[in-house]
């Protein structure tokens, strides 16, 4: 399966024995003269569905408008701040503003710094020439229902997290098993860290002893083009 990451690179994930639960969710940062901004890019409607499922929707003051062929949503939580979402035909991009009463214009001014293209294979937001923005710290996340979550990073942004010990040789890269144990020594969280020439991937098991998790780890391959 090949999709397009928000920074324009193609993400190819093959070999997962079971399908992913849905589209990929991305976290990425845009750095500019005024500091950094974190963006989330998810399938269209995800922010609304997720916050309704988490029971958070009712505490929001919801505002909505129309912009560039999509919906602009402002989800204001009086306790923490405001999530602004632009919902396109296929995907949505959101960011968080501290405080309340944030005007839509603040969000629109930030989005205007990027050339946003929303296509079925993914939403790209490349900085416009002269905007002074650069993209970085991409993280792509997806889930295989009840089995594991998969988190993919570009390998060049993960150099400090790669263990010094030699990992197991797999499929053009290396693999390390990471177990987090509780005080009694039982495995709390089991994950596997895989590195190849383009990605650093963490696969976290939903249940430590699930054979379906082992099957995923044995066959999955993630590449960024």
């Amino acid at each position: 399966m090949q999709v397009r990451a928000p920074n324009g690179r193609s993400l190819t994930v093959d070999g997962n024995p079971q399908p992913f639960i849905g589209g990929w969710a991305y976290l990425l940062w845009a750095h500019g003269p005024k500091g950094g901004t974190r963006f989330q890019v998810t399938p269209a409607g995800a922010a609304e569905v997720v916050s309704k499922q988490m029971g958070e929707w009712s505490k929001y003051t919801v505002r909505e408008a129309q912009w560039n062929g999509g919906r602009l949503l402002s989800l204001e939580d009086p306790q923490s701040g405001t999530n602004m979402v632009w919902v396109g035909p296929h995907n949505e991009v959101s960011t968080f503003f501290a405080g309340t009463g944030v005007p839509f214009e603040a969000f629109m001014d930030i989005l205007a710094l990027f050339d946003i293209q929303d296509k079925p294979e993914g939403l790209t937001m490349l900085p416009r020439a002269g905007s002074g923005m650069t993209l970085g710290n991409l993280l792509a996340v997806n889930t295989i229902d009840q089995v594991c979550s998969v988190q993919v990073k570009p390998v060049e942004e993960a150099s400090e997290t790669i263990p010094r010990s030699a990992g197991r040789r797999v499929r053009g890269g290396s693999m390390w098993r990471v177990d987090e144990r509780d005080s009694a020594g039982a495995v709390q969280t089991r994950s596997v860290f895989m590195v190849n020439d383009s990605t650093a991937t963490t696969v976290v098991a939903a249940r430590p002893d699930d054979t379906r998790f082992i099957n995923v780890v044995e066959s999955i391959s993630c590449r960024l083009g």
């Binding site: 408008a65 129309q66 629109m108 001014d109 710094l113 416009r128 020439a129």
Partner: protein, 168 residues
């Protein structure tokens, strides 16, 4: 003859190189212009704040609130209904609904809101998002514009007080 052809070839080569330089210089100028334009746009968010539309001026000295809406926009319809509900004859301002589609005029039918269906004017006012509320002073000069995300925001921008809200 041979020498002549050679010199011709050299000259045409030099010409090509010069052309390339000219192109590169031109490309640079275009890029600089692009960057300047972007910086200018970044400095002035969304649109210049002072614009004037003569037809939104008024003789009685009262300001005019113009709600700019688009056709396929449920929020625009809701805000238009709200504007129609709060706009009364005894208010100290005029209310206009600006759209490019005839259908939008129905949203404020039988109210004090004047529907203006004018695609060219929508283009001139050039709001980014819809619905946007634009306030014009009596001389037709734009005072401010804001994207309106909810009925409460619309009330706040119109400064409708609570008594008026209750009667609406």
């Amino acid at each position: 003859m041979r020498a002549f052809l050679d010199s011709l070839a050299v000259l045409s080569f030099l010409g090509t190189v010069l052309l390339l330089f000219a192109f590169a210089a031109m490309l640079n100028m275009v890029r600089e212009l692009q960057a300047k334009l972007l910086r200018a746009q970044a400095a002035v968010p969304a649109a210049p704040t002072v614009r004037a539309v003569d037809r939104f001026g008024s003789d009685d000295g009262a300001p005019t609130f113009v709600l700019v809406v688009s056709e396929h926009c449920p929020n625009c319809r809701d805000r238009a209904h709200r504007l129609a509900a709060v706009a009364g004859p005894d208010l100290s301002w005029h209310a206009v609904l600006l759209a490019s589609a005839e259908r939008c005029a129905e949203w404020v039918a039988d109210s004090q809101v004047l529907p203006v269906i004018d695609a060219a004017l929508v283009g001139t006012v050039a709001v980014g998002a819809t619905p946007t509320l634009v306030k014009y002073s009596a001389d037709g000069r734009e005072e401010w514009r804001r994207v309106v995300g909810s009925d409460d925001d619309l009330d706040a921008l119109l400064a409708v007080d609570s008594a008026e809200r209750l009667s609406a």
